[in-house]
Symmetry: C2
Subunit: 232 residues, 2 copies
């Protein structure tokens, strides 16, 4: 994944608002909508930030994204989100790609891809959208699983609060590549510098110990063993 080419506006720019304008480490900001889509598509867990009694609360939770909205469970922050879905949230999705090991401690950093989405989530009440949103959320983590597993009953649907957050206001930051101090006097120190990459992949399936031996895993799960997670 690379930054937008300098001087060339991205084909589908992200909107710029007071919150999404990059103030710091400007070179790491991306205004390319496709970078947002790629970062979201590569993940399935976000960190949801809400304000409770005036104080921040950051909750890890699963999400699904259909390119327009980000769906997540309304129950994660207790009843507060569903009871007052007029409150702003910040949803952050981060993939860590490696450690940036510079000549000086001061220049050390992390290669990463991160998206922040801001807005007021909407409680999904339309039955068709709720079905589609839950499907999106399930398929984001495990493609093929929605059609394989038992789908929700009416009672289960009613017991699930689903929230949708528009992707309209988002901020994307990406850092890739080598350290930035190759052209400083520190390069004369004779120290090694570079990147220690972090890799993630899906391991071997672990059957439920109670599962009868004749029940084998379906191809959409066996095919995933050994495959990279969070691809860029």
């Amino acid at each position: 994944m690379s930054h937008s080419a300098p001087g060339r506006p991205p084909a589908r720019p992200l909107s710029q608002t007071d919150r999404t304008r990059h103030r710091r480490l400007r070179e790491q900001g991306s205004l390319d909508r496709s970078d947002l889509d790629t970062i979201l598509a590569a993940g399935f867990v976000c960190h949801l930030g809400v304000t409770v009694d005036g104080n921040p609360l950051v909750i890890p939770t699963v999400f699904g994204s259909d390119g327009t909205s980000l769906y997540f469970h309304g129950s994660v922050a207790g009843r507060s989100l569903v009871a007052s879905p007029t409150a702003e949230v910040c949803v952050t999705v981060t993939h860590i790609d490696g450690l940036v090991l510079a000549r000086s401690v001061f220049e050390h950093g992390v290669n990463y891809r991160s998206a922040m989405i801001f807005g007021i989530p909407r409680l999904v009440t339309d039955p068709e959208e709720k079905w589609a949103g839950l499907r999106c959320l399930t398929e984001q983590a495990t493609p093929g699983q929605w059609d394989y597993a038992r789908q929700p009953t009416r009672k289960e649907l009613a017991a699930t609060a689903l929230l949708a957050l528009s992707l309209d206001e988002a901020s994307v930051k990406i850092r890739t590549g080598a350290p930035d101090d190759a052209d400083t006097p520190d390069a004369e120190l004779g120290l090694w510098a570079g990147v220690l990459p972090l890799r993630a992949h899906w391991g071997d399936l672990e059957p439920d110990p109670t599962l009868p031996a004749h029940i084998t895993a379906p191809p959409h799960l066996t095919n995933r063993q050994g495959v990279s997670a969070f691809p860029s």
Copy 2:
């Protein structure tokens, strides 16, 4: 990593406050201080939640923990944190261990280890603590690197704002193991159920392209190649 044994109070219990008391999915809460320590020790990136103009902001950033405090850079949220270090923050550290694939979509979940720390961060001004805190932060991500790389100059130290957050108020949640629907009628559906584990490890070092060929990587970095990241 496992839950505390039922009925037996942990040796070093975490404090219980209104914010850290587990209301939801109670079985996933841990009150064991050693679980907090292990989760923090296994990571180096947290999601920092702050309130800016009344709205939540969730920022991924590196941290270090010495068992008493969590250290992070004060610059990450712009000037707001350093200018007003009287504001509450929530720092969340999450490790994702796998997908929990149940018989029904409704029972799907994630195996994870997560810690939330609440409090008002303190700007570190004492030079010795600042040095130790920055060392802690660097060593958490890359053990051995503080003594290998060029350490901060007085000017670099002055340009770095370091914040310390006490670990006194924390909430830990852990989920491990198989899906929970083995003893429901869904077990009769004949569907595969179990866990798809997520593994992370450090890859092969990637030297800075400008690095002279005779500069080889030190053992504390070469030894890390292929090693598991975020161990439980």
